[in-house]
Every structure is written in C-alpha cells, then in structure tokens.
Symmetry: none
Subunit: 206 residues, 4 copies
Amino acid sequence: MRRQQLIDAALRQFAEKGYDGASIRDIARAAGVTEALVYHYFRNKEHLFEEVIKARSFAPILRRVLDEAGDAHPAEVLHKVLQEFLDMMRHNASMARMFIIEFMRNPVCARYFRAMVEDNTANLTRYIQEQQHRGVFRADADAEAVAGMLLGMAFSLFFAWGQASEREWQQRREKFLKHSVPMALRGLYVELCVPSEIEQSFNKSG
Amino acid sequence: MRRQQLIDAALRQFAEKGYDGASIRDIARAAGVTEALVYHYFRNKEHLFEEVIKARSFAPILRRVLDEAGDAHPAEVLHKVLQEFLDMMRHNASMARMFIIEFMRNPVCARYFRAMVEDNTANLTRYIQEQQHRGVFRADADAEAVAGMLLGMAFSLFFAWGQASEREWQQRREKFLKHSVPMALRGLYVELCVPSEIEQSFNKSG
Amino acid sequence: MRRQQLIDAALRQFAEKGYDGASIRDIARAAGVTEALVYHYFRNKEHLFEEVIKARSFAPILRRVLDEAGDAHPAEVLHKVLQEFLDMMRHNASMARMFIIEFMRNPVCARYFRAMVEDNTANLTRYIQEQQHRGVFRADADAEAVAGMLLGMAFSLFFAWGQASEREWQQRREKFLKHSVPMALRGLYVELCVPSEIEQSFNKSG
Amino acid sequence: MRRQQLIDAALRQFAEKGYDGASIRDIARAAGVTEALVYHYFRNKEHLFEEVIKARSFAPILRRVLDEAGDAHPAEVLHKVLQEFLDMMRHNASMARMFIIEFMRNPVCARYFRAMVEDNTANLTRYIQEQQHRGVFRADADAEAVAGMLLGMAFSLFFAWGQASEREWQQRREKFLKHSVPMALRGLYVELCVPSEIEQSFNKSG
DNA sequence: GATGAATGAGCCTTCATTCAT
DNA sequence: AATGAATGAAGGCTCATTCAT
C-alpha cells in the first residue's frame, strides 16, 4: 500500500519533472514519507522508475478498438484508432513527454519502448491484413509498412504539437484525422474512392 | 578557434550524455582546458548549448534538394528528400537524439524546434503546391497536410529505429522509402499509377 | 543538538570572518561535519545566518536592568544601562562587528536592525517618561530623543573604540560613563545638580 | 589619467556593491577597459581600494565651518557643524555605508578611520575649549568628551537612519538638531538657558 | 599602454545513497 | 515499517590574478 502510494507519487513527480528533475527528496515529500523509506521499498532510483513505467500503454486501447470493430468500414476503424491514440497522448501529455525522453535516453527503456511499438504495429498489421483478405485493401500493399506509417504519422503529430495550445492542437488533430489519414489511405483501397457515406460518418464520430 | 574547439567538444559531450549529463567539467576536460575558460567564452551552460545547436539543421539540405529538383518526377524528388532526411538523422544519431530530448524538455527549445519543423514543412508544402499546379498531384489535396505527413512519417521512423542495428535500420529504411512513401503518395496522383520508369529509378538512386 | 553545535560554530566563523568570508566549508569543518549536513539542518547559508543572529540581542538585558531599577536614582539606572550595553558589546566584539557590517549591507537585515534599535529605544523611552512623571526629569524634554541620544552615544563609542586595546578602551569607557553621560543628563534634571551621593555611587558600581 | 578614470569607476562600484561585491571585472567594465589593465595600474584589489579611499573626509568641512564661526553663539555653530556632518553623510550615503563596512572589517582601515575620528574630535575639542575660556561653557566640562559625544550622536543617527526614507530621515534629523543637541548642551552652559534668539535662529538656518 | 587567453581555487548547493536505531 | 543523521561526489559558477603579445 505504501508501495503503491510511492509509485503514484513518483509517477506524478517523474511526469512533471522528468527523471533527473525529480529527486528522491521530491518524491518522498510528495508521498509524505522520508527519503530513507523510499529505499526500503525500492533498490534505487532506477528501480523505482522501472516500477513506475510498468503501468501505461496504448496496447489495451488499441486491442479494444479493434475487437469492437466488427464489420465497420476500415476507414472508420482506423480513424477511431488514431483518434484514440492522439487523445490518449494528449490527455497524458506530461507523462508521454517523460516517456519519450527517458525511452530515448535509457538503452534499457529504448528496448522496452520498441517492444511496445512493435506490439501495437503487429496488432494493427493483423487488422489490415484481414481487410486485405476481405478485398477492401489492395493485396499488394505491405500491411506492416502501412501500420507503421499510420502510427508513425500520429506519433509525430503528437510529438510536434502535443504541447501546443488547445486551439492549435484541435486544428492539427482535425486536419490530420479528416484529411491526412484518408489521403494516405486513398491509394490503398481496391475501389479507389472513399465511399461518401464514410466521409459523412466522420462528421458524427469526430 | 578555441571557441570552435569548445563548441565541438560540447557537441560531442552533449550528444553523448545529453544536456544534464554533460557537465561543464566534462566538456572542458574533453577540450583540454579549464572550466573557467569555458565561462570566458560562453555566458553559461545554456548559452553554450544554444551555440552548439545553431550548427545543425535539415533546412539547408532540404532547400538544396528542392532547388536541384528541376523537372524530375515528384516521386523521385520526395524520395530523395526523405532519404536525405533519414540519412542525416542516422549519421548524427546521437546528436539528433539529444536534440529530441532537450527540445521536448526545455520550453524555449520546444518553440525553436517547432519553428524548424514549420520551416521545413513550409518549404516542402511549396514544392507540393507547384506539383499541384503542374497537374501532377490532385488539386483537392491539402498540400501542407501532405508535407507534414511525409516528414512526420520519416521522423517517426528514425525515432523508433534510429538506434537499431545497421541491418535492421537498412531494412526499415528501404521498406519505408520504396514502399510506404509510394503507397502514401499513390492516392495523390491525378494519374493513378506510379509510372513504371519511376519505380525503376528507385533502384538506381536508393 | 548537532543543530546547536552548528549554530555555535557558525557564530564563531561569522563573527571572525563576516558573512561572505565564512564559507559553509569553514563552518562545517569547524563543527567537524560535512558540508552536506549543514544543508540537512538549514535551508541555505542565509537561513543559517538568520538562526545565528536570533540568539544575540541587548533587549533582554535592557529589560532586566529596567525591571530591577526600583526606586534607584535615574542617574544610577541609566549609568547601569549604558555600562551593560558597552560591556555586552565589548564582550561580543567580533560578533557585534559582524552584526554591524551585515546589517549595513543586507537590506533585509537593515530593517531587522532598526527594529531592534526601535525596540530598545522604546523601552528606554518609557523609563525616562516615568521619571518625568515622578518629577525627576524636566517635563518639556522629548523622552524618545533623549533615549536615542544616550544609546546612540554608547553605540558610537563602541563603534569607534570597541576594538582598541584594553587600556584605551577602559579609559574611554570610564570617561564616557562618569563624565559624558552625567554631562548629557545634567540639563535634564528639574533640580540642576546631580546629587553628590550619586556621584559617589559610581565609584562603587563602575 | 586612465588611472584616475579607474579610481573613479572603482569608487562608484565599491560604493554601490561593497568591497567583496564589486569584482575587478565590474570595475574594469565600468571603466571600459580590460581586467588586465587594472593590474597594470594597481598591484591588486586591496591596493586599488586603498587608492580609492584616499579622497573623502569630513575634516575640511569641519575646518571651514569652525573658521567661519567668528563670534557666533556656540549653539549655532555646533548646530551648523552637526547639520553639515549629517548632510554630508546622507548625500554620500552609499559611499559612507561602504566606508563604515570596510573600516570595520579591515584592521588597516580601522586605524585610518580612528585617525579621522580623532582628527575631527580634536578640532571640535579645540573650539569647545575656546568657548570655555570665553566663559560660555562651564570650565569643569571635559571638552574632548563633549566633542566625542556630539559627533558620536550624529554618527549613530546616520548609522541607524541614514538609509531610511526621505521623510523619516528629515523627521529624525530635525528632531536631532533642534531638540537633542540643545538638550545635550543645556547642562553645559554657564548661564543655564539657551538664549531665545538662538532658538529662533534655528528656524532660519534649518 | 593595452589586450585576450588562461587558470586554480573556491563557493553554494543538490543528490543518491547508507546506516544505526 | 520507518526515521533522522550523515556523507562523498559532483555540478554550475565566480573571482583575483598572471602572462605572452
């Protein structure tokens, strides 16, 4: 229980100040305990940090969205996937920022991070392959490349604008979801044009 | 001259250890001088850092590639742009990594970073608009969104795999340039199919 | 307890070398501990300094002397007050010197210092007013001005000669207490002359 | 000439920031030269400081006022002396503050300072003795003690309030000159009361 | 006369970590 | 389970001073 409190406090501190910026003192104080107690529960700062990051991922969200997809048109499904991804990142912006920073810095974390990316990419790839079998997407497309492209685009959008003002962010998000994504998918369909009913559905779900 | 030596040493140290990780002590030692001399040339650590980052940017490369584009088919030009972008990042991987980290962390740098992104995006946007006027790309596409999409994809590729092994990286790079980019562009052409001669040209320039 | 040891050591160091002159290193070494431990007990150098000065003041001595005054002739009481003041300053000469210096330098301390001066002046003023009501001192004298004059004279004596040799100091002190003070008070009495028995009492108490 | 410019610049810097607070860099910059040039003209910082302080003293003012005294009533003359003293201090407050601090700190300076005090006291003592011979002041008073008392009072007034607001300072100065000084002198006259015409003259000269 | 380069020593402060209780 | 005391190492920075030119 104390352990959990410590993890919670550490999470908030790390998110706010980053790994280096958040001192054990800060974390201990935020949890209302002594610095020494932190060491009672965690070997050291790195270990505490590892425990902290074992709790956040886009994976379950992605899985849920794909599970609930049913027979919906893939344009709608992929739109939903990317929208959820962006919203998740934006809502946990400071946490995400910290993740990005530390995953870039710490080689151990880097591997963890790539595992996450590959997991998500694999799931999305499987979905795209299904659509290829159903004859919605062209069979000659490399499904994994498409999945990586879509997630990468979304990630880079958050990266560059995730900390911008609400108004700026909303504009970018809209343009991305309603324009860039359909544009990137357009060449993928067996039937070239995006059916008009799908375009309309964006105005409901956005 | 000493100044330049210091900047060089700082660049290497910052690239290797990040802003916080590289101490003035480290930098001075790496340059073979006293810490105090660093302060003789630079107001403080932040200022030194600023001087260091004022030396690396994709902007001039992008400009050169677009200037030299001439009448080449846009598929070829954009391929070249993204290839150069990826190669530049990969060749300065540790520097790029540091850029990314510090630009995420320091609000001042974040603005600087977004300015860079916008600059590059604007240049690429202009090129795409020209192709729209020439009737190569569909006029109903949002040129800026396309530019952002392309650069974002490339950035996220480097982000996730920029530190991977040479083999892994080469695979990803190839697949991205030869498959993902043409795929993303496919829906953009007025004439649907990428002319076969262009596809062939990839095998020469890659 | 360690806290107190640190304050003691700091007091000696500050007294000897002044605020700037006494480094945390010095203080820690003098107390036989690490620099870091100083920061365990005190937020920073300024805070440590504040704690040090919260322990020396003339106020309690003045209050005691006035409380014990009873019906003694004011000449005797004021003589006692100024004598105690001078002795206190002389006994803590280096501390007093440091006080003076830092209170002149640091604006925050300056206010603190003036508050001390005003407190002492106010207490002495009250005593003089009582003597006015008793008809010993002329009613048309400004009691506060008198109090300020007396303390000011004593202060300036210490200021100019507080660090002189023992012999020189004793001479100045004697002359001040036995001559200057009675002289300054002479014009104050309703009955002009200082009663001879008081003059004699000086030779006992000095 | 450069030498003088340096001294001037140093004076201003020392006055503003004190000995420790004013760095050679500050002084050199204020004079528009290199730090190294300061060392071309002055052995070291202490030497520069010594050169700076060889230029300010109350002595000449005091001498002038006493020379111009003529047959004026001593109450008026002493009033003038103290008024000039206070005004001089107040007008050069930051310089005076620095003088005080450094004279307290540096033993060499302390001796220099006391020499100044003794010089002024001696001059004033002589004037008081003349008044004793003329039969204005009581012959049994210790003239030197009186002189020290008067200058000490003025000094301590400046010390405690010299940095107060203009309004507060004016109030203190007025009360001191019109009330405390006459009060302190009252017991000194052979003829007890201050002649009324002198009291009136205060309202002109103040 | 004047400068720019260079330094060694020192300062205040922070931090992760340990240990006896 | 919890704490207070304690530390070694390091970090950013400033300063008086020297010296070759």
